[in-house]
């Protein structure tokens, strides 16, 4: 149980990753077509993601994923669990 909580603490959501920071995808907490789309665009467990810029209105945020730039809203990014690289 204690190891579970400890592990949980290490994970963050993609929404918490600041511009310029990198992270590795751990898992997706979404279902349905959105999940399908994210997987198809290469957001898979183990994939490295980098936040590259933020819309001046706060959301969406653009991420570099497998050589292309994808924009995601923070509300959707918050459903993607990541392990930030330090």
């Amino acid at each position: 149980m204690s190891s579970m909580t400890k592990q949980k603490l290490e994970y963050e959501t993609l929404a918490e990753i600041k511009v310029g920071q990198r992270a590795k995808v751990v898992g997706l907490l979404v279902e349905g077509p959105t999940r399908r789309r994210l997987l198809d665009l290469g957001l898979l467990p183990g994939t490295e993601v980098k936040a590259v810029m933020e819309s001046p209105l706060g959301t969406p945020v653009a991420y570099k994923i497998r050589g292309s730039i994808l924009a995601l809203r923070l509300e959707d990014a918050s459903k993607i669990m990541v392990n930030p690289s330090r």
């Binding site: 789309r37 969406p60 653009a62 497998r66």
Partner: protein, 648 residues
């Protein structure tokens, strides 16, 4: 060789230059319509090559062959069921891994393939060098490097495609997944082979493991036992990997794609940040992003409206100048009236709306989309648009609808899912167009007060906001997240943009003009047969009792269906004066003007807009939106009337 007519299909991710290749191949022999029964666009063209007639079909730009969108479903069904002779997979050389992920899926459909490795020049600028011979060897399908915008490699591509067909169309060999998955795929495909299903057995087995809803549904109908076998295998894979089976298979596919990409490409750091990257930084800048966008959009819209207004007026004058000629030929009696007032005025309405606004709109829309600026605009504005349940990209059609709803509706095709297209179109039809503005300002602004005209606009904005939210909740289908690719800036291919504009305009004319002419003819027929007054009295419970308007306004509202500005012109004719402040014989004061303008603002998309809706969404949805908006406008008008009376 018995057959000399071939079908070649273009498939690939969005923004890889597929349509540029399509345009190079087909020249002026193309036709743009919809896939039967779908709101997905289908571009077809024909060419002759070495004695063969080749039909080229441009499939929609997609990232996968799953069930994310109808585009994906249409594409995979077409390739598997219609079995084209060869699939040309257009691949963006600078995003090789993700593009190969799609290539691998196409290979699984077991149709002969040729890969067009496109935009190799752009990739080179980014420091990416690809050994295409090695890629060809690894994939086992021919690979032709191309620079579509310059036409480089397009001939070789065609040559190789025809060669592939002539050789008998060899099926691409299959990439292998991990042993534990491969074993189960093979086991499942053995069972699938025994039943009749249009897709390849191996593909079906993979899709069953991926829990593809469509394949599961169809296989369940054929033999539910196959499904339970698949579920069992999927659970076993899940137990081994600790992730859902669809995640595991997608990961493996990406793994293979990544491996191939790493093997064939050599990446060197680009020497200096290219121009397009500096442009990208500037146009999405925290401080400069918005002013640049505001200036760009203002310039675009004012030029569209200025061009539209000028050309529309010019064409209108020109065509109305024909009236005496028509009168001299057909006379001023019933026949003459029907031909001029029915047919010709319908055509004039169509011409003065369609040509001046739709042409520049399409040109600019494609320019924005192809250059990559559209996704930057969406990036900057999504937060605001999302509040009415729309995607950031929807800003462009919605904004343009202030000029004319028709291009707004046609522009909804830039949205990625059918649900978003429909949602955007609905909001677009609620936006007050230039003609509505004439009525609101000319009637309420002039005779009641500018503050009242402004109030009407605020009410309209609130209604857009409320109905937008409501439709977002009520529309069937799941709302999808914004997952938008922002590809590098590039110079759009002018010829492709021009051709796309031209063929889409033709498509609209073919669709809309008959409708506009019939509508116009019907109204004129009612006019010459003196049916308008009886119709007005039939409508009087609505106009007089509920809305508190004079009965003759019913006639004005009917004419507004043709073109909204006609409501004001007809109103003046019917009331016998254009000085709406002093209307003798009728009870038509400020309250009536406000109610009338409000109803006109909301009540119906004009017939050209309805035609655009039919073109994009089919009859049923177009009718639904139309009827809903009529009922809604009357409802709001009646409530406004009662509130205004109370306030007096």
């Amino acid at each position: 060789m018995t057959k000399s007519r071939f079908i070649v299909v273009l498939a690939g991710n969005a923004n890889v230059g597929k349509s540029v290749i399509f345009n190079h191949l087909t020249g002026l022999h193309q036709h743009i319509g919809n896939w039967p029964g779908k709101t997905v666009e289908k571009a077809e063209g024909t060419l002759h090559f070495r004695g063969h007639t080749i039909d080229i079909i441009d499939l929609p730009g997609i990232y996968s062959l799953s069930t994310f969108s109808i585009e994906e479903l249409v594409s995979r069904e077409y390739i598997a069921v219609e079995t084209p002779d060869v699939v040309i997979n257009v691949v963006d050389a600078s995003v090789l891994e993700r593009n190969l992920f799609f290539t691998l899926q196409l290979m699984e459909l077991e149709t002969p393939m040729v890969v067009a490795l496109n935009q190799v020049d752009m990739a080179k600028k980014k420091g990416i060098e690809i050994n295409y011979k090695k890629l060809e060897k690894t994939l086992g399908v021919p690979v032709i490097p191309t620079v579509a915008t310059r036409g480089t490699g397009v001939y070789e591509l065609l040559q190789k495609s025809v060669e592939t067909i002539e050789k008998g169309g060899e099926k691409p060999h299959q990439m292998k997944y991990g042993d534990e998955i491969e074993k189960r795929i093979e086991g499942l495909s053995e069972i699938v082979k025994k039943v009749h299903y249009p897709y390849p057995a191996r593909w079906t087995a993979i899709k069953l493991l991926e829990k593809d809803e469509q394949v599961e549904r169809e296989i369940r109908e054929i033999d539910p036992e196959i499904l339970s076998a698949a579920e069992k295998s999927a659970r076993e894979i899940e137990d081994i990997h600790g992730h859902s089976c669809s995640t595991v298979i997608t990961s493996e596919r990406y793994e293979i794609a990544g491996c191939i990409a790493r093997e064939v490409q050599h990446i060197a750091p680009p020497i200096k940040p290219p121009m397009r990257e500096r442009l990208h930084a500037l146009t999405t800048h925290k401080i400069f992003g918005y002013p640049i966008m505001a200036i760009a959009l203002l310039a675009i819209f004012s030029s569209i409206f200025a061009f539209g207004d000028y050309t529309s007026g010019l064409l209108g004058d020109l065509l109305y100048g024909l009236e005496p000629i028509f009168e001299s030929i057909f006379g001023a009696e019933i026949v003459g009236k029907l031909i001029w007032g029915g047919v010709m005025e319908g055509i004039i309405a169509g011409v003065t709306i369609a040509l001046p606004y739709i042409i520049p709109f399409y040109l600019i829309l494609y320019f924005l989309e192809d250059s990559g600026y559209l996704s930057r605009i969406a990036f900057l504005l999504d937060n605001v648009m999302h509040k009415i349940g729309l995607h950031g990209k929807a800003f462009i059609p919605v904004m343009l609808s202030l000029g004319c709803n028709v291009p707004g509706c046609l522009g909804c095709r830039i949205m990625e899912t059918e649900r978003e297209r429909l949602l955007t179109a609905f909001v677009v039809t609620l936006v007050p167009c230039a003609a509505t503005t004439v009525i609101v300002l000319g009637l309420v602004g002039t005779f009641v007060g500018v503050q009242w005209a402004l109030a009407l606009y605020i009410i309209n904005l609130l209604i857009i906001f409320l109905l937008g939210r409501l439709a977002f909740k009520a529309l069937p289908g799941e709302p999808t997240a914004l997952i938008m690719e922002m590809h590098d800036y590039r110079v759009p291919h002018l010829q492709t943009v021009l051709k796309q504009t031209w063929f889409r305009l033709m498509e609209f004319i073919k669709m809309a003009f008959p409708l506009i002419i019939v509508g116009s003819l019907l109204i004129k027929l009612a006019d010459v047969t003196d049916l308008l007054n009886p119709i007005a009295s039939v409508l009087s419970p609505m106009t007089v009792t509920w809305l508190g308007l004079p009965a003759i306004t019913g006639i004005a509202l009917i004419f507004g269906v043709l073109r909204k500005e006609l409501t004001l012109i007809m109103l003046a004719t019917l009331l016998g004066t254009a000085d709406f402040a002093h209307v003798p014989n009728f009870d038509f004061g400020p309250v009536q003007m406000i109610v009338f303008a409000l109803v006109t603002m909301l009540y119906i998309p004009c017939i050209a807009t309805i035609a655009a809706l039919v073109r994009e969404f089919g009859w049923k949805k177009a009718l639904f939106i139309t009827v809903f908006e009529i009922v809604f406008a009357i409802l709001v008008g009646g409530i406004a009337f009662r509130l205004l009376i109370l306030a007096q």
